[in-house]
Amino acid sequence: MTSISITVNNQPVQVDAGLSLREFIARHIGKELDKDSKAIDGSKLGLAAAVNGAVVPRSSWNGFAVQSGHTIELVTAAQGG
């Protein structure tokens, strides 16, 4: 399978071509996600994604194709403030 180069949280990453954002994120975080991008185990993900500087709502992850050169930011809650 061909792979493509993307950037995830400032790190260069090679991933399989043809993944949706939902499939990529599921692999990246090690959790299965259903078609609505909710965790199959019922837990709240607490995650958000931006691609090339624009937020991609979770409802759009399934239909969003990850392409070569994409810069993906994957964020969550951290201690602060």
Binding site: N9, N10, H28, I29, G30, S43, K44, L45, G46, L47, A48, A49, A50, G53, V55, P57, R58, E73, L74, V75, T76, A77, A78, Q79, G80, G81
Partner: protein
Amino acid sequence: MDAHELTELNATTDPFVVAGRTFSSRLILGTGGATSLSTLESALQISGTELTTVAIRHFSASGSGNVYELLQRNDVIALPNTAGCFTARDAVLTAQLAREALETNWIKLEVIADEDTLLPDPLELYWATEQLVADGFEVFAYTNDDPALAQRLQDAGVAAIMPAGAPIGSGLGILNPHNISTIVSRSNVPVILDAGVGTASDAALAMELGCDAVLLASAVTRAHNAPLMAAAMRDGVKAGRAAYLAGRIPKRDTALASSPEEGMMQTLVGEF
């Protein structure tokens, strides 16, 4: 209930209402600076806080522990912040990511001018406020202790005004109590004293000045004994709130005896 009829403060007699939600605790303990998640969890539980701040940062698959799960486990509501943003543009993007990640339209808006002071940049803060309010956010605006800017933010539609007592993490307390009082007296939205609190008396003073709540983090999380300081802050906030509602006596230049002169023994009454 009239303040002069109150004998006990609780969620029924003195609720803290902000952005349409009601809380019984007026202490908002932030999660920043804790040395471990277990220490943070103890401090949060002892503080009685029902609302806390979190930052939005890169997800790490190898990250140890998860503050979001900790908050869910303890029924503490997460108020995401835009800490680290220097421009309205970055703050708006961070707020939008926070809304997606935490499924909340609440945002503590921080737009910082420089790293030495960590004080807000008034113009970027105001521009970000306008955009976020228009986008449906409940904006908790971290601002300077400037009554004029606070008024502008209120007019722009913020859910709460959060003036700094002193620079973030400085522990200097409330440097300009007069300005905080002025902001309180002019505000139609809750005023939450944010930043600068060093110890329990600072938190009590904020409440005595009429603030609706206090947000602090470092003063607890960086104390030698974080859970014990959390208890001190909890009690300081409660004491300050009660004192504010009870109404302090006016300050006088001269003494005023609390024991009666009437009934004094004749032989002891001297000439004044």
